[in-house]
């Protein structure tokens, strides 16, 4: 079972409620035709299905046609059809219970509302069920405006994926704003100290305006420290020499800026990204922390631990402390 959920504002014409009265005055009959262009439809779920329906037609719009009967008390009954695109994809609807038409504060208009049940569908809506709430205004000059909120169920296989579960969190929900970013000018010694204190494997590097530049990790530091042993050996050196050179390089590199170790243009993530996607990136790239960047600005970082906490343990509130 798949679900489609949309809002749409329909505009059109109706026969005026006054002209439509029956001869005996006991009830009146109103004919409505209204349409909405595709951009007036706001899909909350199942957008792809609606888009597919509309794009497969020449007319990229939704049309509503209905016959409303009203008794003297303003009680409404309606039968109608919602047609998508050229019309082969349609829903047939009728009033569930009864609707009401009442006076509105605006003397030129009357206001009505009802719940429509979906009796059936054709084309890509074959087998549809569900309800549409209709909230409309009738103008005495014949202008008609109707707000439909539809919740439609279609038979289909993707029921599990669409089934409601716990809300899906995004990066913005878990990002760590205190991510101790550093400037490219800090020395390697400073960075080594900072890593020991924060226990972060990766630190983000920003410029003076807080714009994101890149990432530097403990692995990058180590790689700079490990000499090219092959060159040492080809030059007649030994493994012992390599061990000595390792510490000698430490002394040499300590006061140097980290700038040259910064990996520019690494994968960054945005506040809207899905946590599963972010976790995948980290596992695949063997990094434990990713920078969160929006429009070039550094917002914070997300670690694998942050994601584990968010998904497994967010209710106990430990992290807030």
């Amino acid at each position: 079972m798949r679900q489609i959920n949309y809002n749409v504002v329909l505009q059109g014409r109706s026969t005026s409620p006054d002209q439509a009265a029956s001869k005996d005055g006991s009830h009146s009959s109103i004919h409505v035709t209204a349409t909405a262009e595709h951009d007036a439809i706001r899909c909350l779920e199942g957008a792809q299905h609606v888009a597919l329906v509309l794009q497969s037609s020449v007319r990229n719009a939704l049309a509503f046609e209905a016959q409303i009967t009203m008794d003297e008390d303003g009680v409404l009954q309606q039968t109608g059809r919602v047609r998508f695109g050229d019309g082969e994809h349609a829903l047939t609807v009728s009033t569930a219970g009864q609707g009401r038409l009442v006076l509105s504060p605006d003397p030129t208009r009357r206001q009505g509302a009802m719940t429509l049940q979906i009796d059936g569908g054709s084309g890509l809506f074959a087998g549809a069920t569900g309800m549409i709430t209709s909230n409309f205004l009738l103008n005495y000059s014949g202008a008609y405006r109707d707000l439909h909120t539809a919740v439609i169920f279609l038979p289909g296989e993707e029921a599990a994926a669409q089934a409601p579960g716990p809300p899906r969190m995004r990066v913005r929900d878990v990002l760590n704003e205190k991510a101790f970013p550093v400037k490219a000018e800090v020395t390697m010694e400073y960075l080594a100290d900072l890593m020991a204190l924060t226990e972060f494997s990766e630190h983000m590097v920003v410029d003076h305006e807080g714009k994101f530049i890149g990432v530097v990790s403990e692995v990058d530091l180590l790689r700079a420290l490990i000499p090219d042993v092959e060159e040492i050996i080809k030059g007649g050196g030994t493994l012992d020499d390599a061990m000595r050179i390792f510490f000698k390089l430490g002394e040499d590199l300590a006061p140097q800026p980290v700038g040259r170790l910064v990996r520019a243009s690494p994968r960054t993530i945005s506040p809207d990204d899905e946590l599963l996607a972010v976790a995948t990136v980290m596992l695949r790239s063997h990094s434990r922390r990713l920078p969160v960047v929006k429009d070039g600005a550094f917002l914070g970082s997300v670690s694998l631990a942050d994601i584990c906490w968010a998904v497994l343990s967010r209710w106990n509130g430990l992290k807030q402390q």
Partner: protein
């Protein structure tokens, strides 16, 4: 007697000379001893040609062998061979003189039987028994075909008085006896036929070494070099994949029809391979090869047990002496240089082994693409893995093994004079005179000289300043730098002055790799911009260093760092390369005792104004090598001692017969090699006519006027000159050149002259058409070559007799023949044109979706190399690898093959290619868009996929489909090729039918499945990951699996499988069952059509998807979903249609 040689004999080791003498003195009856062949006159070939027949008692083997091509064609090999009578081959029944012929015939019969199909059956005893006996009597432990059988005994002369050359030899026995088999095998025989020189020189050389006779050693080493050059450039190049060549060897016919028979049929045999020949064995022994680490080398060692005893004893005698040691002790620079030249001719970068490797590469690439899955030496793999690349790497490693333990040596030339060759002020042309006496350098006109340049003192100073270094700073070298400088400095120093380092370093232009390395170290923003704009070729290293210094990067670290630190400049900046110049002199004019004393180059000075980039101003920048050769100012050290190396081009020599007329076209300094040609021709009375067409800017730019005048006056030269910037023409007034008013123009205008055009036409035409059959040469920049080629085609088009055909087509045909027969030779050079220059912007930007459509004769053949698009439709016929090779990589990215062939290192090929460049590939903007996608069996089974990577996967899959389409086209074209002797091209035979059916099987088992299984799954998962998280991941694989396992699919497969039984049951002769044959042929065509149709459908679908990438770029996730998913969902119906098409008539 010399001590060492007496020691040898005391140990029972005869010298090479003694072994040859002994063999020559004991020639048996018929001249063919079981120990094989060895003589100073005929090398490893028998002096008396191989026997043409066995005695009447064994004639049945001859008769069976003669039938092999026909049995192959009618696929009756095993039926007929199984019924041969069992004949005895013992001493009483078969004289020893017949053993070689009997061994060869039985070997071919055995292979024909054993390799008839992939189903192994034991050899029938009528072959196995005598074959074993004959081999035993030949001294072999096991029955088998040896390299001596293949190369030294399987030939007969067509004209018995003629030469032992490819053109004059046929095969004694053949499986197909098509041109591919004949040319391939006789070329190998021709190399052995020349080996008399090698055997004689080698024996004399060994003698000279034992006698410590330096002078004689020089003479013999030079003869060895000459022999190696001959087999490289004369014999091997006859194996020519160009269809217009006289010795055309179709690589596909070779692979499909012939190669399968060379496979070993027992565990003891070694496959056909060059390294088992006596030639390679002898050269390896002489050059003291000591390393045998590669798999090819292991094979070489195993080959040794198959070497017959005479050649083996001869070769082994060289393993007991050391020429290297002798040279070291002699301390003679010329001898060392001559040795270096010989080793270089055999195993250098442009050597016998390199040319061989390139040829193997082309044949293997095509072979594997056509469905070959392993080589005789055990390389195996599928087409998609480019298994031939691995073979190629191994061959190159094997070549380099020959250099292990050899001394570092690079000849040095001394610049003795600079002479102005033309009066021009604006673009001076200089004759550079180099003294090469005592260096052991030899050359012929047309050869090129590699010059290892030094940077100017000015540039080195600027770079030193940019490095914030003082004059006495030094730098520690990496091992790669030590190896590069060792032959030049004659030592391998660990530390050199920074000035010396910079003198030999590649400082200009910056180069992308160096720029990226510096950016990686510094994260310098302006350098980043420069690289982003691809302006790195507008600046030099010091510009970049200034940018770094301006960004507070400590540039001193670069030269202070040790070679094991990332910042070491020696790790970042590579050494310069040899720069190549055409030699402008002839050695005869400067003869020394062994080698010429002098060598001339013609050098135009190159400078250009760079464009401003990353804040660096526009400035005049100079060419490194030309500046080095002609500048007066002092270079950094030893300004006149120049490391050099001679390179021999594949095709740019004077004709062997000096009477052959030559026609030369020179653009400016392109006169360089022609001056050498003209000197050589002027010195030889037998010389035929010579024409020189030369284009210069003005009269004063015309170089070598004095010499030209003399040659014209002596009637040795017809000279025609065009001035492009001066409305003048050249007139010869009583032996003096004067410029008189006329029209300015380029060289092509000269060919519009009616009399000259008629003369050129006569020279273009072959002798069979009443022409003079001259040799044509073009030397100049690529655009010049292009102009001349166009003008020559116009002459042909204008003059070709109207035979009622398509003039354009006839012109192309004649022109392609001219190239293929080696009568049009090019020496094209490129002057440095930075990509930022205006010319580069003329080119169009293409999308890959357009390129993939160009892999057929209707749309032409395009290829992408390093991001540029080339139209190869015409170039295919100039390419030495042949048109098939280019067809196989058309419509896709050919960079991998191009770089494997090392064309990018060969400025000549590079320049030539420039002619066919039509644009470059548009770079798409994918921003930073990414998502996750399912990856079955991944850990985790999800991967993060950025849009750019997804695009790469998509395009790679599409290229793979194009490649499969190309292979299908190549394979199906065999329908129109004769596969065995005397077969009409269009005739259908059982063999041809089998090859075509195999081709379908290869496609169906290989490409078809591969694309459907792995490739599509990857694309589908990627498309869902990037665009659509709601659709089921198994939807497409399920649909494809359903299409593949449907009832229809099963019936289609059964139907195609039945084709094999139908083929078996068909009559051998089509005339016996014309209806059956016609039905069968019709069905074969249907299969071909279905295969092509399916792959065309796949290509169209994937191309439509590609268009979505190109159209939407980074907005693909929102806008491209339907296009991508739609493209992939077209595939299951394609599979259904494919099976439907196969079943068409049976349905």
């Amino acid at each position: 007697m010399d001590v060492s040689s007496s020691t040898q004999e005391a140990h029972g080791h005869a010298s090479a000379a003694a072994i040859v003498a002994e063999v020559e003195a004991s020639l048996p009856a018929r001249g063919h001893a079981p120990e094989a062949f060895l003589s100073r006159s005929h090398g490893f070939l028998p002096i008396q040609p191989p026997l043409l027949a066995l005695p009447p008692s064994h004639r049945v083997w001859d008769e069976a062998a003669a039938m092999l091509p026909e049995l192959n064609s009618t696929q009756r090999t095993r039926d007929v061979l199984d019924r041969l009578p069992l004949l005895p081959a013992d001493v009483a029944s078969l004289e020893p003189g017949y053993l070689w012929r009997a061994g060869l015939m039985l070997g071919y019969l055995a292979h024909a039987h054993g390799n008839f199909s992939t189903t192994r059956v034991p050899l029938p005893s009528c072959i196995a028994v005598p074959w074993t006996e004959v081999n035993r009597r030949l001294g072999r432990a096991h029955p088998g075909l040896s390299m001596v059988d293949y190369c030294c005994y399987n030939w007969r002369l067509l004209d018995v008085a003629g030469a032992r050359s490819v053109e004059n030899m046929g095969l004694l026995v053949a499986w197909c006896n098509n041109e591919a088999e004949r040319v391939f095998m006789t070329a190998a025989t021709e190399m052995h036929a020349r080996s008399g020189t090698l055997v004689d020189a080698a024996a004399n050389l060994q003698d000279a070494v034992t006698r410590h006779d330096v002078g004689a050693a020089k003479v013999e080493l030079l003869r060895v070099t000459g022999y190696v050059h001959d087999i490289t450039f004369k014999s091997m190049l006859k194996i020519d994949p160009n269809p217009y060549s006289r010795t055309f060897t179709d690589p596909l016919v070779w692979t499909k029809a012939w190669v399968p028979y060379t496979a070993t049929i027992n565990d003891h045999e070694r496959g056909l391979g060059g390294s088992g020949t006596p030639i390679i064995e002898l050269l390896d022994a002489m050059f003291e090869r000591s390393v045998h680490a590669t798999s090819v080398a292991h094979e070489t060692l195993r080959f040794r047990e198959w070497m017959p005893s005479y050649p083996k004893r001869f070769i082994d005698s060289f393993r007991r002496i050391s020429i290297v040691k002798f040279i070291a002790e002699a301390g003679d620079a010329e001898l060392a240089g001559i040795y270096d030249g010989a080793l270089d001719a055999y195993a250098g970068r442009r050597s016998f082994l390199s040319v061989h490797r390139l040829k193997v590469y082309g044949f293997m690439e095509l072979g594997f693409k056509a469905g070959r899955t392993e080589t005789n030496s055990g390389f195996s793999g599928q087409e998609a893995d480019r298994a031939w690349d691995e073979l190629d790497d191994t061959l190159d490693a094997t070549r380099r093994e020959r250099h292990a333990g050899k001394p570092h040596h690079c000849p040095v030339a001394t610049r003795t004079a600079l002479v102005k060759a033309a009066d021009s002020q604006t673009s001076p042309i200089t004759k550079v005179i180099l003294d090469i006496a005592g260096q052991g350098i030899r050359y012929v006109p047309g050869d090129r000289l590699g010059v290892f340049p030094q940077n100017s003192a000015g540039l080195v100073d600027r770079t030193l300043a940019a490095l914030r270094a003082t004059d006495d700073a030094s730098v520690r070298l990496t091992s790669a730098w030590r190896d590069a400088l060792a032959p030049i400095l004659r030592e391998a120093p660990g530390v050199v002055p920074l000035r010396t380092f910079l003198a030999y370093a590649k400082l200009r232009p910056l180069g992308r790799a160096v720029g990226k390395a510096l950016l990686h170290l510094s994260a310098c923003r302006r350098l980043h911009e420069l690289l982003e704009q691809r302006r790195e070729d507008q600046v030099e290293l010091w510009d970049a260093l200034e940018l770094l210094a301006g960004d507070n990067y400590d540039v001193r670290r670069l030269w202070k760092a040790a070679p094991w630190e990332a910042e070491s400049i020696a790790r970042i900046v590579p050494p310069e390369n040899f720069r190549i110049y055409s030699i402008s002199s002839t050695p005869e004019a400067h003869g020394g005792e062994h080698c010429p004393r002098e060598l001339h180059l013609t050098v135009g000075r190159l400078s250009f104004e760079s464009q401003p980039a990353a804040g660096r101003p526009a400035m005049v920048r100079e060419g490194t090598a030309s500046g080095y050769l002609v500048r007066g100012e002092a270079a950094v050290e030893q300004p006149t001692r120049i490391p050099v190396r001679v390179f021999r081009p594949g095709h740019f020599q004077l004709p062997e017969d000096p009477a052959t007329p030559i026609v030369m076209f020179a653009g400016g300094t392109g006169i360089s090699p022609f001056r050498g040609f003209l000197q050589a021709r002027a010195a030889d009375r037998r010389s035929g006519p010579a024409w020189l067409f030369i284009g210069t800017r003005t009269f004063s730019d015309l170089p070598y006027t004095g010499e030209l005048r003399e040659w014209v006056a002596g009637g040795q030269l017809e000279l025609r000159v065009a001035f492009s910037r001066e409305p003048k023409r050249l007139r010869n007034e009583r032996g003096d050149f004067v410029a008189v008013p006329g029209a300015s123009g380029y060289v092509d205008a000269l060919l519009e002259d009616d009399a000259d055009s008629a003369a050129i036409w006569r020279l273009l035409n072959g002798r069979d058409a009443g022409g003079a059959e001259g040799c044509f040469y073009i030397c100049g920049q690529a655009s010049f070559a292009h102009t001349v080629i166009k003008a020559l085609k116009q002459v042909i088009a204008h003059r070709v007799p109207d035979a009622g055909g398509d003039r354009g087509a006839i012109t192309e045909q004649l022109f392609r023949q001219l190239v293929a027969r080696g009568r049009l030779m090019l020496d094209v050079f490129t002057t440095f044109a930075p990509s930022g220059a205006r010319t580069a912007e003329r080119f169009e930007r293409f999308d890959a979706s357009e390129v993939v459509e160009h892999n057929n004769p209707d749309r032409g053949y395009w290829i992408i190399i390093r991001g540029n698009v080339y139209d190869m439709t015409e170039f295919m016929y100039l390419h030495p690898g042949g048109e098939r090779l280019l067809v196989s990589t058309a419509g896709m990215d050919g960079t991998a093959s191009y770089e494997k062939a090392e064309h990018h290192l060969d400025s000549g090929v590079h320049a030539l290619l420039d002619l066919y460049k039509i644009g470059s590939i548009r770079r798409l903007d994918f921003r930073d868009v990414w998502n996750i996608a399912v990856e079955p069996n991944g850990d985790p089974p999800l991967l993060s996929l950025d849009l750019h990577e997804f695009y790469r996967r998509w395009i790679r899959a599409l290229y793979r489909v194009v490649e499969i389409e190309n292979s299908l086209h190549n394979n199906l074209s065999l329908r129109h090729c004769p596969l065995v002797e005397a077969e009409a091209p269009e005739a259908m035979s059982k063999l041809k039918a089998r090859v075509l059916l195999e081709s379908h099987d290869v496609f169906h088992r290989g490409g078809f499945r591969e694309v459907l299984a792995i490739r599509l799954q990857t694309l589908w998962n990627g498309a869902l990951g990037i665009c659509d998280h709601a659709t089921s991941i198994t939807k497409l694989p399920d649909a494809i699996a359903a299409a593949l396992s449907s009832e229809r699919a099963r019936r289609a497969e059964a139907w195609t499988a039945k084709m094999w039984t139908r083929l078996k049951d068909l009559s051998a002769d089509a005339a016996e069952d014309p209806a059956g044959w016609s039905r069968f042929e019709h069905d074969l065509e249907r299969i071909a059509k279905a295969d092509l149709g399916f792959i065309a459908g796949m290509k169209a679908a994937l191309r439509d998807g590609l268009v979505a990438f190109e159209q939407h770029e980074h907005r693909l996730p929102e806008l491209g979903r339907d296009a991508l998913i739609g493209a992939l969902e077209r595939v299951p119906p394609l599979v259904e249609r494919y099976h439907g098409e196969l079943l068409h008539d049976d349905a």
